[in-house]
């Protein structure tokens, strides 16, 4: 496997009427080609903002931290995404090396242009295909993602397709330019479970076929367990834990990850009480000092967690977490 993406010290703030909000705070992670990384978090955790930063899709009031470095490793050399300034520069990644699929496919398709026209348009922008070739490729792609009767669907509008079909068409469109990195932002959240299962299957097949890296953003740990190789858990703009999916889900280290798993209604034990994480997620305007989770953490250490920002500690080879308690216990104090 080769390295595909390195995100180092990603910090992102927004200037708003109410003041400067820190949406992402010093986040670093990397992704190998052919790997699926799940980015989990609740509302306001900064997971979508992080993903959008990879394509510099955030609005003009976004301020990137000075140390932020995002490197995409392509066959013909690395690209420093922070150095891309103009929209022309960004074409290399937007819709080229990186594609994105969103939660609500109806909002992502133009309502008054046929699916086919939208697909061929982007192929013509990003490749030197003729319209005939682009049409062929698009129909083939629609067929590949399991849309029956692809050539007639090609001529239809987004509203004529069902939710599941639309999401498939969205995936077909995102993959037709043969991206190296696919960002999927809650791609199955708006779908019914039986359709969600179909789309998850499809995405797994596509990773095997195309070998791209995927960043899969979701709030649903079950979906992560069924799709990702690697998980990163975010809370209030910070990465609190990351590691291989089995380790993180079976032996979570951070109190927040533990809390998230305990709050899930489990199907294998209907008698298990549902244990909510106490309190609410603080507003990004009032980010707690020290560890961002200290206001809700059941095991916060007095005098440390509310003042010092924890650094990452290696739980095992690839599994690390930012928690004072974990580090203390490991040192036997």
């Amino acid at each position: 496997m080769s390295r595909l993406l390195d995100v180092e010290n990603l910090t992102l703030q927004f200037d708003t009427d109410e003041g400067r909000i820190t949406a992402v705070d010093d986040v670093s992670f990397s992704l190998e080609a052919g790997q699926v990384m799940g980015l989990v978090g609740e509302s306001g955790s900064g997971k979508s903002v992080t993903a959008k930063a990879l394509m510099k899709l955030n609005p003009p009031n976004a301020i990137y931290g000075e140390k932020t470095r995002i490197t995409l490793h392509l066959d013909d050399g690395p690209i420093e995404i922070m150095d891309l300034k103009t929209t022309t520069d960004l074409k290399v990644i937007r819709g080229g090396a990186i594609s994105m699929i969103f939660q609500e496919p109806m909002a992502s398709f133009a309502p008054a242009i046929t699916i086919g026209d939208q697909m061929t348009e982007q192929l013509q922008i990003h490749t030197d295909m003729s319209i005939k070739k682009a049409t062929e490729v698009s129909i083939e792609m629609l067929d590949r993602v399991g849309i029956s009767d692809a050539s007639s669907r090609f001529k239809q509008f987004a509203f004529e397709l069902s939710g599941g079909m639309r999401q498939r068409a969205m995936i077909a469109m995102a993959l037709s330019t043969n991206p190296k990195l696919l960002i999927a932002d809650e791609p199955t959240t708006a779908l019914d479970v039986t359709i969600q299962a179909q789309v998850i299957d499809l995405m797994k097949d596509l990773v095997d076929d195309f070998g791209m890296g995927i960043i899969f953003i979701t709030h649903d740990l079950g979906v992560i367990a069924q799709t990702a190789d690697h998980v990163a858990v975010m809370y209030l703009g910070r990465l609190v834990e990351q590691g291989p999916v089995r380790e993180v889900i079976r032996t979570p280290a951070h109190p927040y990850t533990k809390g998230l798993i305990a709050a899930l209604p489990r199907m294998d034990d209907l008698d298990a009480p549902l244990e909510p994480i106490p309190g609410d997620i603080p507003s990004p305007l009032e980010r707690p000092p020290g560890c961002v989770f200290n206001t809700r953490c059941p095991v916060a250490i007095d005098g440390i967690c509310s003042t010092e920002v924890p650094s990452f500690y290696d739980v095992s080879n690839k599994h690390k977490t930012a928690c004072h308690l974990v580090e203390r216990e490991a040192h036997g104090k």
């Binding site: 509302s43 999916v245 994480i277 609410d280």
Partner: protein
């Protein structure tokens, strides 16, 4: 609760259908959406009754029909809490007003359900004022404080506007508003679907404790089977306007009989990464309710459909005590 009231269902539904006529179509027949078709259920007092299904299954419409918020096309629908009886299918306007104080709805989206221009106190008090259930402002305030306390909202919260609250708190405000009229029957339509997991558990625990404390009967509508499994004591599964299976929760999850229920259970993403690829996959999507397939409504997606499924619609049969299933082949498939 006495023995006798325990035996009478609070809500009794017989052959209930709700159809909506669609506009347009030009010449010929206007298309009709058969949102709910020939549904039979009894909801026992004090139960937490779950109604599950995918989008388009008719679960929301059925919930609204039980509140008489949509017109009923056919069938019988009665309410009996021991003090009052209503024949809901033929209820008059005056009586309906009365029924509304006994049957309430909690909405899905706590952001859309609360007026941004009213204080939390006014939001919770509104049902009392509209239905004229209290005689003085003091009495209203007393009732508001009492229910707010049950929903873990303090006096300070009551003075504020909804925008100052998080999703979980807003949902607790919605719950307080629904319960302030002291209803007996509450329909909770996807009431935790918009909440984060860590908050969802809190709201579910609250609903359950309030239900026990106030002796409420809940109809809990959800697409999320894992939530239903934890909170409901009886579950009905809907597909394309029909009930396909009804059973006590434990029994349904331990031994589902309908192929659709089985597929639905299997499609829940497991928290165990080693379960990958084990899910039993269902092909295709739910058909349009304007043009349902003949025979069993599930036959277009059912891996076990045979000729009879394509011709005859199965009836709800008794599979075990309190456990009903509408499938021609359920017995064979159990073997």
């Amino acid at each position: 609760m006495s023995e006798t009231t325990n035996k009478t269902p609070l809500i009794s539904v017989k052959d209930l259908s709700v159809h909506f006529g669609l506009r347009g179509g030009g010449f010929g027949k206007k298309p009709v959406v058969r949102a709910v078709e020939a549904v039979n259920i009894d909801i026992a007092p004090g139960s937490f009754f779950g109604l599950v299904g995918e989008s388009g299954s008719g679960k929301t419409t059925l919930g609204r029909a039980l509140l008489r918020a949509v017109p009923i096309t056919r069938g019988k629908l009665t309410y009996d809490d021991g003090e009052k009886q209503y024949n809901l299918a033929k209820i008059q306007k005056e009586q309906l007003k009365d029924y509304r104080s006994r049957a309430q709805l909690i909405f899905q989206d706590p952001y859309a359900a609360l007026s941004p221009r009213m204080t939390v106190r006014d939001i919770i008090a509104e049902p009392l004022e509209v239905m004229k259930l209290t005689n003085s402002r003091e009495e209203t305030d007393e009732r508001v404080r009492e229910i707010a306390d049950k929903c873990r909202l303090n006096l300070e919260h009551l003075r504020r506007f909804p925008h100052a609250f998080s999703g979980g708190q807003r949902q607790r405000i919605s719950i307080a508003r629904a319960l302030v009229s002291r209803p007996k029957f509450v329909v909770a339509d996807e009431s935790v679907a918009a909440l984060d997991v860590s908050i969802q558990a809190d709201v579910l625990n609250l609903l359950k404790s309030i239900q026990q404390e106030m002796g409420l009967t809940f109809l809990f509508i959800s697409h999320d089977l894992s939530v239903v499994a934890h909170i409901c004591d009886y579950v009905a599964v809907m597909y394309l306007g029909r009930l396909v299976e009804t059973a006590p929760t434990r029994q349904l999850f331990a031994a589902p009989k309908h192929p659709y229920t089985k597929a639905l259970l299997s499609a829940i993403p497991s928290l165990d990464p080693d379960d990958r690829g084990k899910a039993q996959k269902l092909e295709g999507e739910i058909p349009s309710p304007t043009n349902p397939p003949p025979g069993c409504k599930f036959q277009t997606r059912c891996p076990f459909a045979i000729d009879i499924c394509k011709k005859d619609e199965p009836e709800l049969q008794v599979a075990a005590e309190n456990h009903n299933v509408s499938c021609h082949r359920w017995k064979e498939l159990m073997e």
